[in-house]
Amino acid sequence: MSNNHRLPRLPGEWIDRAHSIEFEFEGKHFQGFAGDTISSALWASGQRVLGRSFKYHRPRGIFSLANHDVNGMMQWGQKLNVRADVTLLEMGMQLSAVNTFGGLNKDPAKVLNHLSRFLPVGFYYKAFHGKRLFPRWERVFRTLAGLGKVNLSTPRLLTPKDYAFCAVLIVGAGPSGLAAALAAADQGADVVIVDENAQAGGSGGYQIGGELAKREATEALLVRVIAHPRIRLLTGIYAAGYYTDHWIALVDDKKMTKLRAEAVVIAAGSFEQPAVFRNNDLPGVVLGSAAQRLIYRYAVRPMQRAVVLCANADGYRVALDLIVHGVMVAAIVDLRAHHQPCDAEVELAAKGVEMHTGTCIVEALPTPGCSGVAGARIAAFANGVADAATARDIPCDGIVMSVGWAPAANLLYQAGTHMRYDDLVEQFVPDALPPGVFACGRVNGVYDFKARLLDGERAGSAAAAHVGFGEKRSVSVPVELESSSFPWPIVAHPQGKNFVDFDEDLQLKDFENAVQEGFDNIELLKRFTTNGMGPSQGKHSNMNALRILARLVDKHPREVGTTTARPFFHPVPMALLAGRGFHPVRRTPMHLRHAAMGAYFMSAGDWQRPEYYARQHKDRLECIREEVDMVRHGVGIIDVGTLGKLEIIGPQAAEFLERVYVSRYANLKIGMTRYAVMCDETGVVVDDGVVARLAEDHFYFTTTTSGATAIYRELSRLNTQWQMACGIINHTGAFAAINLAGPQSRKVLARVTTLDLSAAAFPYLAIREGKVAGIPARLMRVGFVGEWGYEIHVPAEDGVALWDALVAAGSPFGIRPFGVEAQRLLRLEKGHVIIGQDTDGLTTPFEAGLGWAVKMDKPFFIGQRSLQIVDKQPQRQRLVGFRLDQAHGGPAPQECHLVIHDGAISGRITSIGWSHILCAYIGLAMVTPELAKPDQTFEIRITDGSLVVARVTPTPFYDPEQRQQKEEA
């Protein structure tokens, strides 16, 4: 299609006529220029219908051309809900309107426009809830609702994130924002100024009343801003949200930048507001500012013959802009009964333009097919009511509205600004700004161009002074002489279709009906009507909704108030929020050794641990069984470097441990270790490990793998609170740790150390420091798996060397690495508990069979008071060992299957496994005390509902006399 609506070349236009861009919309071929947005290119080509509305599928065209409405919302391949008004045209784009069925023109859903009387506000609450049919209706609703389509094969988009800092951030590079930037920077502040438009200048670039010379002041400011060494001007980027302490999310089409400012100036301007009259949503009914943007940014003639509806001087200036660029202005219709004529009005009168005051448009007359405007029906308008008797029609192909503004105060609200309704300017303005937040320009209720510059200077200077640059300048900003916003730009019509919220297809009547039903405060009204809940979040509808409600309940707008404005200012793609994501994965120093030995890895929190080591021609269970056998009968080696490894040093180190663990450590001999259980304040077991004493004032201790981070954090918190004379160091990542276990472990270790490994010199539960394979090491004789063994801790960088040395030394004994699964079975055979698996969020040490470790006679430990109380109560549950009947043949119970007694839940299985050494299924179960007696049988219900009998069995199941792991007494 030809560019038949393109104007001759205009100075400062945003399009580059040297680069034409071919694209498709709804299967048709179009052409635009580089710098065009999708909407401007389509409009230039004569395409008036850009989309269909959400509820009634009415045709819609350009309305704000500023992303304040979503009339032009498009699907572009994998991108959905693309805002055509502000998305730059790209070569080869294939676009279609969202939310149509079978194309923009056909769209059979447009029948809904004729059924609208059946579908008043909240109609869906009043029907469709028959139990049988609701699921089908829901499917219909879901299909009709929703806008674009998600393409399920879209790949994950990884985007960068940027961080920035500045003294003063200015949001909005219009006249007041530019003035603010200069004032702040001139006082020495480092300034960032952002604007969502492709180019800076804001309304100063297009609200010029036909005279290009009027741009000069803005252009001069812009030149100074660009040249200023302390100002960074960023365009095509919007402030999506304001967060605590001036933390601002800035979003462009590639990334999110998180900026911390010392002060913020909001110069975001205002949203032009529609007038409400019948068919005010027809393609061709546009805001004045939209018409101006079309002309001055994209050199597009908005229409041929216009009726201008206005209620302020802006409207007359728009009329001049139109006339200068070849649009015939058929009439200017002013809602106001009386006003002081502005310069533009005088000029228009001189040109002989037809003008009506105290007059409104009651209806935009549609073309056949309703895809455009054929005329405006105007009528006398007094006290907010149109006089139908005076109605007459003026033929036109476009209606331009300029009846008022609403502040773009979203970020101000998010920052916690208290706003008040200003009767003079008929809008909300900042009343009390939070510290470090400033506002200027239209968002501050200042509309006169020169006044805006002064207001910007005032705010910029104050912001710079706030952060310590210069003195706050005394600037007097003249008071507005008249309001730019009309208090009641709303015209009732018996046939409705006078839209307030274009996103949600809400008509004037919908608000009246909602209030009639009792939704008569602004929050309830919003929720019942869904006003402002669409993608443009009320930018073009909240103000009129508020005016309507105020009139319906006979209150002042100030009493009605506003709803809460939350982030985001414009919607933000999930990919930009997500960035690249962050997935810490921790590997022990021996990771590659495990991999080379065939390890099958599993996740343990952030860590990767070998679950078992795969062997050729053997399945998982066989591999695990062989690993178990090797530990029981020969020697095995396991990487336990993921355990939390902490050190505490200082005169009060022992006292600290006494407080945080349930056992006694003050009397622990130097060179010895002791099992350690930690409870929370309610007496619930939260972690366990081993505490070793290296010196009077020096302990080394371990935590569980999963608890390491939280325990270190909690101990640090407690030490901060208690202020004890000791320091805690987290060595978890700094140390590697290996457990060498099995009857042959001493012989293996003897080959690589000169330490005296005799039982007398290095008894069970002792800790020794010495060299292993030449590496300085701490060795503990402890045995989670129930065999003679050594847990050897060395600096992480020596972990591989230690591993290699032990594997080499063990090879004559057939040493094999074993994984987490073998260890789990080995410990189960010993009846050792795993905190978090055999215990849960309510388990006390008494219930877990760890009562022996609790020293209630200590003066204090965390959880002691609770345990004293709990200890006096009858026990509710107990952890017991159990065995299944040897003859059990069917499927085995699994962990967390329930114990059922007399038809009631009486416990659950916490651990279970097949012990080939004991030739039985063994396990641990948390059961009621009556089922915990020795030799008691109980029933476990498995997934298929059948019951399996288990018998309470004392633990350890294996080697109950502990002969394997320690020397003869």
Binding site: Q78, N81, F118, L119, Y124, Y125, K126, F128, H129, K131, F134, P135, E138, R142, G146, L147, G148, K149, V150, L152, S153, P155, R156, G241, Y243, T244, W247, N513, Q516, G518, E523, R527, P535, Q537, T564, R566, P567, F568, P571, V572, P573, M574, A575, L577, A578, G579, G581, S603, Q837, G841, L842, I869, Q873, E895, C896, L898, I905, R908, R941, T943
Partner: protein
């Protein structure tokens, strides 16, 4: 199109009566005063009037109907808890929910979608099995499902989670549902209003009069009310009300945040939760994705939003559904959750005679709206805790008789 919509055309005027009656002032005496016109408070009022004939009742609301957590939550309704007390309680609620649109003659968009709690670790899968077994024992439909079924039912999900946290199974709970939250408050409010209950919005409670250990009245911003029964149902403001009568509770207020996307055509039917990734998602009838995550980790009496919440939630959600990269988030918000140590509510009597508590709803209150109303109404009328709520009494903390729901409530809400 249902015939019921015909009346909108045949009638000259909008044929709908007012949902909530205007009252010029407060009465001097009410048989019961309910603080909080959220779902819970209005439900209690509704059942007091409907089931017990107690209609000289007022509901006091500082803001507006349903303006607290009723209007801020992500509307997931389920009963797959871990304790038998919890399962029976929430199952009763689900059954009430299923008939509620009919009871009210108001479409609550109660949509049974099915609910999956994804397991990425053995430990998570063990907890799923525990919940499934307890649920089945209580007659609630839950089962552990494997990766094959997940691939079949949610084929668009990346089972490897970007390779970071592969999904190994899930707890499937067929009755899982969502509903239109605001409408629930309106339905209960209208039902109570029709039966004579007075709802007073923009009426703040300033103090509670206690005489000899008994409630005797309520001081409000619009005057004094004499009453012998007060129900406190104020979610995140519970500690402030309890301070007025000197009752201590172990409640801490944490913010809970959520966000919602632009609408899109339907692609996701069930509700999905991942405890390991700390995220959950459902698609509303309007086509928006409703997204949430776990609580903010610190105490704060505020409904402010944070940017890092949206960043973390989006990053984790794209692990499950990478194709949402271009989907835009339109709005984020927060509510104040009153958290209890065991993740179960606090319901029933208090040391002050005539003062009843419906609190500790943390992040799990919306689904309990019907059953909390019903059981609290019973408790207020009989002055005896309803059998379904004995496990949730305030004195359980003193007695170390907690009802541990952490495993089933911490992210799933």
């Amino acid at each position: 199109m249902p015939w019921r919509l015909l009346r909108f055309v045949t009638s000259g005027k909008h044929p709908e009566p007012q949902m909530f009656t205007h009252h010029d002032g407060l009465k001097k005496v009410y048989d019961a005063v309910i603080i909080g016109a959220g779902g819970h408070g209005l439900a209690a009022a509704y059942y007091l009037a409907r089931d017990h004939g107690m209609t000289n009742v007022c509901v006091l609301e500082k803001g507006y109907i349903g303006g607290g957590n009723t209007g801020r939550n992500t509307t997931i309704i389920r009963s797959n808890y871990i304790t038998p007390e919890g399962v029976q309680f929430y199952d009763t609620s689900v059954k009430l929910w299923q008939d509620l649109s009919q009871d009210f003659d108001l479409n609550l968009f109660y949509a049974t979608r099915g609910h999956y709690t994804l397991a990425h670790t053995d430990a998570a899968l063990r907890t799923m099995r525990w919940r499934a077994e307890v649920n089945k024992h209580c007659g609630v439909e839950s089962e552990v499902v494997g990766p094959e079924e997940l691939r079949r039912e949610i084929p668009m999900m990346d089972m490897s989670c970007g390779g970071h946290a592969p999904i190994i199974g899930a707890l499937y709970h067929a009755p899982g549902a969502i509903a239109r939250h605001d409408a629930v408050a309106w339905g209960y409010g209208r039902g109570a209003d029709q039966r004579g209950v007075q709802i007073h919005q923009q009426t703040e409670v300033l103090g509670i009069e206690v005489t000899a250990g008994r409630v005797s009245g309520v001081r409000t911003s619009r005057g004094f009310i004499a009453t012998s029964k007060v129900l406190c149902a104020v979610a995140g403001s519970t500690p402030r009300i309890l301070d007025m009568i000197g009752v201590r509770s172990p409640i801490y207020i944490h913010p809970l945040q959520a966000m919602v996307s632009e609408p899109m055509k339907p692609w996701l039917d069930p509700i999905l939760v991942s405890g390991s990734l700390h995220v959950y998602i459902s698609q509303s009838a309007r086509g928006e994705l409703v997204l949430g995550a776990s609580l903010d980790p610190y105490e704060l009496h505020s409904t402010r939003s944070t940017l890092d919440f949206t960043e973390g939630l989006a990053a984790h959600m794209l692990e499950l559904f990478p194709f949402l990269s271009h989907v835009k988030i339109v709005r984020q918000w927060a509510g104040m959750a009153d958290m209890t140590p065991d993740f179960a509510p606090i319901m029933g009597k208090t040391p002050i005679e005539g003062f009843y508590l419906d609190a500790g709803w943390g992040t799990w209150g919306f689904k309990a709206t019907p059953v909390s109303g019903k059981t609290m109404a019973h408790t207020m009328v009989t002055d005896t805790p309803h059998p379904l709520i004995t496990g949730f009494s305030l004195d359980r903390f003193r007695n170390y008789a907690l009802t541990g729901e952490k495993g089933a409530a911490s992210v799933g809400h």
